[in-house]
């Protein structure tokens, strides 16, 4: 059971704290996803297995 995290002020309107938490989770997820893609592309000569150039991080 997760207890309420009472650390930052959440301005209420934008759910800033939530976004920080989600971004952190996604950051981890994207890190491992890229790792997996690099791993896969190392073994594959297929172009499609290589990590896409235009990723959201490059926006």
């Amino acid at each position: 059971m997760i207890r309420a995290i009472l650390l930052y002020i959440d301005p209420g309107s934008g759910s800033y704290l939530i976004q920080v938490i989600i971004a952190a989770i996604l950051g981890v997820a994207f890190y491992f996803r890229n790792l997996w893609w690099k791993f896969r592309s190392f073994f594959s000569k297929n172009k499609k297995d290589h990590p896409p150039k235009n990723d959201s991080e490059n926006a």
Binding site: I2, A4, I5, L6, L7, Y8, I9, D10, P11, G12, S13, G14, S15, Y16, L17, I18, Q19, V20, I21, I22, A23, I25, L26, G27, F30, S56, E57, A59
Partner: protein, 459 residues
């Protein structure tokens, strides 16, 4: 120039407001928004968004039409013939509006700007496709802050889509009950328990329920452009993958396949319908009780005509919307509206969002296979119907009279022992003659149903 009418829904944004003068809608830009507006226009963002047909185009008018001290510029946006509201849209229309919002958001951030709100009221469907109409929603992007409109996006777009996906609740119904969005707490309770293990639902719904804001000193959270892009990308992929959960078999889904009436009926009706509309000089039409849009599609073959197709059944409207997106049909707008329970006027002073009655008018009103539902099923006296249709139509009416002996009518009264009388052809014609003059009249071969073409009388 007549006194400009300040649009009642437009008061909330200090950056500017919408007003009407001489029958044309304008948007005033106030001094406080000047810098952001110029950035929008000069950075190339406006050009890109308009080129993609994502943002409504506008022209700048050099005069201060409202004589206000705060005036910076006056914009005249491209004309919109009809305003519709998110509680009138089907699932996929809301989904397309959400994806458009995220696409515009992504493009804006590339140009160092950001959307300061994410409301479905900022989107309209002028040519059957979503278009963003709030030109003043852009502001300079501060990369150290999270997105101010994230919660609004969730409450107005994501949560209704989630509830439709997992619980089969119509997005229109949710937004009718919660016009400003449904809160995370309520959404979390409505969603099935298994969604707690779905990463997307966990992050965007349940987390907001678990983590509570607190008053008192706290640090400003640190954010970055990359974090925001991750968040937006995640929202995009979740939103795109949601689908409306199929409702239990709807009574209208297979209306024409299941009909006891013959195939001949549909062919003959179609032939008569085409004959009635050929040479009729109308530019706008409303198809009431459009079902899958069979007759709306016939109307759309005339490219100069704009059609609004209305049906209470969300599954039917969804199918019609899918058809028009697939085939790129620009002149049909499908909407989920129940004519027995049409959209009311809501908002502050019941004045912000106008009622169905105030917005919908058409030169041609089409009411096929409808009247028996109104009288026999919904208990609306036959006498009251012509006046209603005369208020909607500014020109013509094509209506199908379904007699009591008809199989479908019999189905409707099967379990009733009383229904409004009179309900017969001569009373029908007598009541309608008060408001319309009957031009053409033809029995549909194979049935006892009669198709009428009527012209509204000038009062």
């Amino acid at each position: 120039m007549p006194e400009p009418l300040h649009h009642p829904a437009s008061y909330r944004d200090p950056s500017g407001f919408v007003f009407q003068a001489g029958g044309i809608y304008y948007r005033q830009v106030n001094q406080s928004y000047a810098a952001d507006y110029e950035k929008l226009m000069t950075s190339g963002l406006y050009t890109t968004l308009v080129k993609n047909n994502w943002l409504i185009e506008h022209h700048e008018i050099p005069e201060n039409l409202t004589a206000s001290a705060d005036w910076y510029k006056t914009l005249r946006p491209a004309r919109l013939d009809l305003i519709t509201y998110p509680y009138e849209w089907c699932f996929r229309q809301l989904q397309d509006a959400a994806l458009l919002t995220l696409a515009i958001l992504t493009e804006s951030i590339r140009q160092d700007m950001i959307l300061k709100d994410a409301s479905p009221y900022n989107i309209q469907f002028p040519r059957g496709k979503p278009l963003f109409i709030d030109t003043l929603s852009f502001e300079k992007y501060d990369a150290t802050l999270p997105w101010v409109a994230y919660r609004q996006f969730c409450e107005c777009f994501l949560f209704p889509l989630y509830l439709a996906h997992y619980c089969g609740i119509d997005t229109g119904k949710i937004l009718t009950a919660y016009p400003d969005g449904i809160p995370a707490g309520i959404t979390a309770r409505l969603l099935p328990r298994k969604t707690r293990f779905n990463p997307g639902a966990l992050m965007h719904v349940h987390l907001q329920n678990i983590v509570r804001p607190t008053t008192g000193a706290g640090k400003t959270p640190v954010f970055s452009r990359q974090k925001l892009m991750h968040l937006i990308q995640n929202l995009k992929s979740i939103t795109a993958r949601l689908k409306p959960r199929p409702a239990p078999h709807s009574a209208w889904s297979n209306y024409y396949e299941d009909t006891i009436l013959s195939r001949q009926y549909l062919d003959e009706k179609q032939r008569l319908f085409r004959d009635f509309i050929s040479g009729l000089p109308f530019l706008t039409a409303i198809d009431m009780g459009a079902n899958d849009g069979f007759f709306s599609l016939i109307l759309s073959e005339k490219p100069e005509v704009s059609i609004t197709s209305i049906d209470a059944d969300a599954a039917c409207i969804s199918r019609l919307y899918n058809t028009i997106r697939e085939k790129n049909i620009p002149n049909i707008l499908p909407l989920c509206i129940d004519i027995l329970l049409p959209s009311p006027a809501i908002g502050f002073r019941n004045n912000e969002r106008s009622s169905f009655n105030d917005r919908f008018r058409a030169e041609l009103v089409v009411a096929l296979a409808l009247i028996h539902h109104l009288v026999l099923a919904a208990n609306i006296p036959l006498r009251d119907i012509p006046q209603y249709l005369a208020a909607l139509s500014t020109g013509w009416l094509i209506i199908e009279f379904v007699p009591l002996e008809d199989e479908k009518a019999q189905e409707l009264i099967r379990n009733k022992h009383r229904w409004h009388l009179p309900y017969d052809i001569s009373s029908f014609e007598q009541y309608f003659e008060e408001y319309f003059s009957i031009g053409k009249k033809s029995k549909i071969p194979g049935t006892e149903r009669i198709l009428y073409l009527m012209k509204k009388r000038n009062s």
